[in-house]
């Protein structure tokens, strides 16, 4: 497949699904068979629940729609490995029923269904959702993790201390967290590959990461400088969420500037929630907030760019001419490009000259009318007969 080809939404979802699936491997290495069980349960329940709700709505169910599998897999990767199975299914019901179908299905929803379901679970079951199994040993293949639970990095940072994690462990994801959100290295490779394949927005991803890093560097919660920024990026659901949740093709603004604004607001709100809020999972709350704010960001950007192209550009041109002593001549007229939004339905001007007939005399016209009238009357009479 050519990289320059413009991809359809389903193709983008398929790409995301492919790269997201790679996160199951480190999840299996760090969290054992439990992580795979969560993924399988989430995928199978999402398929069944979506089928049921699509049929309830009287719509056709497309099993080739990759968005469903992306949502199910992403949702599973946001959970702790020892998350109760019935709550996993409950979360999938919330995601599909409330997040997707209640808003009218694909192309209609305004909030990320995955973030909505995850936030619902965080608020409702914080004890199950925000406590992760202690990641004390590598390769617990065919085993379950230790039953010891601990909070994630996000909580440790909010206490004003840096977590005791090496740089290498931070990169490979050898610390407690949700199934698919800890492995920074794999996430970075996924992000890079997806950007090259044009399946996610570089502008949005870069803006979010830069905003969070800059905020953490300027106003560190724990540690200072680069260290603070690195931990803030690795904590919570930031990297995973930026790459896979915020880059949902159905929610992403269409314009580059819109994506920039969306990414900046997402990063800023995340850090504000982290600094002044108490709840963990600030990124997911911020994502819902940014979804609501940026719902119409494209039209805002378009109107600003139209205004700049129409008025500001012509003013700047005149100003630069004046500064160069190249004053416009008196007979010159200022060209103003009217915004393309306004459509003038004026007819095209033909170059042919149409001679105007001289007006007929009053007496002739009256006679003509009378004659026409008589003819008309006679015709009516004929029809009547």
């Amino acid at each position: 497949m050519s990289l320059n080809k413009i991809k359809t939404t389903n193709e983008k979802y398929r790409d995301q699904l492919l790269f997201m699936a790679t996160l199951i491997v480190p999840a299996y290495i760090f969290y054992g068979i439990n992580a795979v069980v969560q993924v399988v349960v989430s995928l199978s329940s999402a398929f069944i629940i979506d089928y049921i709700f699509t049929k309830i709505r009287g719509k056709k169910f497309y099993f080739t729609d990759a968005s469903l599998y992306v949502y199910a897999l992403a949702f599973a990767l946001l959970l702790p490995s020892d998350f109760p199975i019935y709550l996993n299914i409950f979360g999938v019901i919330i995601m599909i029923a409330l997040g997707k179908h209640a808003f009218g299905g694909n192309k209609n929803y305004i909030f990320s269904p995955i973030a909505l379901a995850a936030v619902f679970l965080i608020v409702s079951f914080p004890g199950d959702m925000l406590f992760y199994p202690k990641n004390d040993s590598l390769f617990p293949v065919f085993k379950t993790n230790s039953s010891e639970l601990e909070r994630g990095i996000e909580n440790i940072l909010s206490l004003g201390t840096l977590p005791p994690i090496d740089k290498l462990d931070l990169l490979i994801g050898n610390f407690s967290g949700a199934i698919g959100t800890t492995c920074v290295l794999v996430l970075a490779v996924c992000a890079l590959s997806l950007v090259i394949r044009k399946s996610i927005s570089f502008t949005m991803t870069a803006t979010t990461v830069l905003t969070i890093s800059a905020y953490a560097w300027l106003f560190p919660r724990a540690g200072e400088g680069v260290k603070s920024a690195a931990f803030e990026l690795a904590a919570g659901f930031v990297l995973f969420g930026t790459v896979f949740l915020a880059n949902d093709p159905q929610l992403l603004p269409k314009t580059r500037a819109g994506r920039g604004i969306y990414g900046f607001l997402l990063g800023l709100i995340t850090m504000i929630f982290r600094t002044f809020g108490k709840a963990d999972g600030a990124f997911l709350f911020a994502l819902l907030f940014a979804n609501a704010i940026c719902i119409n960001v494209d039209s805002f950007v378009m109107s600003i760019s139209d205004w700049m192209a129409t008025y500001l550009a012509s003013f700047e041109r005149l100003r630069s001419q004046t500064l160069k002593d190249n004053l416009p001549k008196a007979e010159d007229t200022q060209e103003i490009d009217l915004p393309k939004v306004i459509k003038y339905d004026t007819p095209e001007v033909k170059s042919e000259v149409i001679p105007i007939e001289p007006p007929k005399k009053a007496s002739e016209s009256i006679d003509d009318k009378k004659r026409n009238g008589n003819i008309a009357h006679s015709k009516e009479d004929e029809h009547g007969q």
């Binding site: 019935y86 409330l98 209640a102 608020v123 409702s124 079951f125």
Partner: protein, 206 residues
């Protein structure tokens, strides 16, 4: 227009025009405060007393008075009626009425008194009007008790303080956001039943 008599179905308030799950005119106190069955019962008693008495008394206000002034007088009447009702509730249900907080006084300006009385109740004869308002309040009480029971079971695993053995305890069910979701689901169910029983409505929609 003002003195026009209308024909109404007296069972509307129970289900088809239920003020909580169908029209949503009085959904806000149910969303905010009805987290237990006890709260639901006390709120229903308060709502019924304030609304029935206010609608009946305000029906004596002359219809020659302009609309804006009339609505202000309805509020005045209901706020006067609120005082003895609040004292009564405080005497009978001392602990629960405190839990209701500001949501009991705010019933003074509920839409059933201000809006529904103008569009429906005051067009009926006095006896019919009293019966119709009572049916509307009964509909409110039923919906409030259903919501209260569901939220109490889900949030605290109790019903009327009796413990139920369940492994599913969701404390957030007592928060307003769950109230919105629950009433949204109940509204959808109500609409579905109404449309199933009335094929004309679904045809018009198509």
């Amino acid at each position: 227009m003002d003195n026009k008599k209308i024909s109404v179905n007296l069972t509307d308030g129970l289900f088809r025009q239920n003020v909580v799950v169908s029209s949503g005119l009085a959904a806000f106190p149910v969303i905010a405060i009805v987290t237990t069955l006890k709260n639901a019962i006390v709120l229903s008693v308060g709502f019924t007393l304030i609304t029935v008495l206010s609608v009946i008394v305000s029906s004596f206000i002359s219809r020659k008075i302009i609309y804006a002034m009339r609505i202000a007088l309805f509020s005045l009447v209901s706020s006067v009626i609120y005082i003895p009702v609040a004292l009564f509730l405080r005497a009978v249900f001392p602990s629960v009425s405190v839990n209701l907080g500001m949501y009991l006084p705010i019933l003074v300006v509920n839409s059933v008194i201000l809006s529904k009385s103008e569009s429906r109740f005051h067009h009926l004869s006095k006896a019919m009007m009293s019966f119709d308002v009572l049916i509307f309040c009964f509909g409110f009480s039923l919906a409030a008790m259903l919501v209260g029971a569901i939220r109490e079971v889900v949030a605290y695993n109790t019903i009327f303080d009796y413990k139920i053995n369940m492994n599913f305890e969701m404390a957030s069910a007592a928060q307003p956001f769950f109230g919105f979701i629950l009433i949204g689901c109940l509204s959808a169910l109500t609409r579905l039943i109404i449309h199933k029983n009335n094929p004309k409505l679904s045809k018009e929609k198509k």
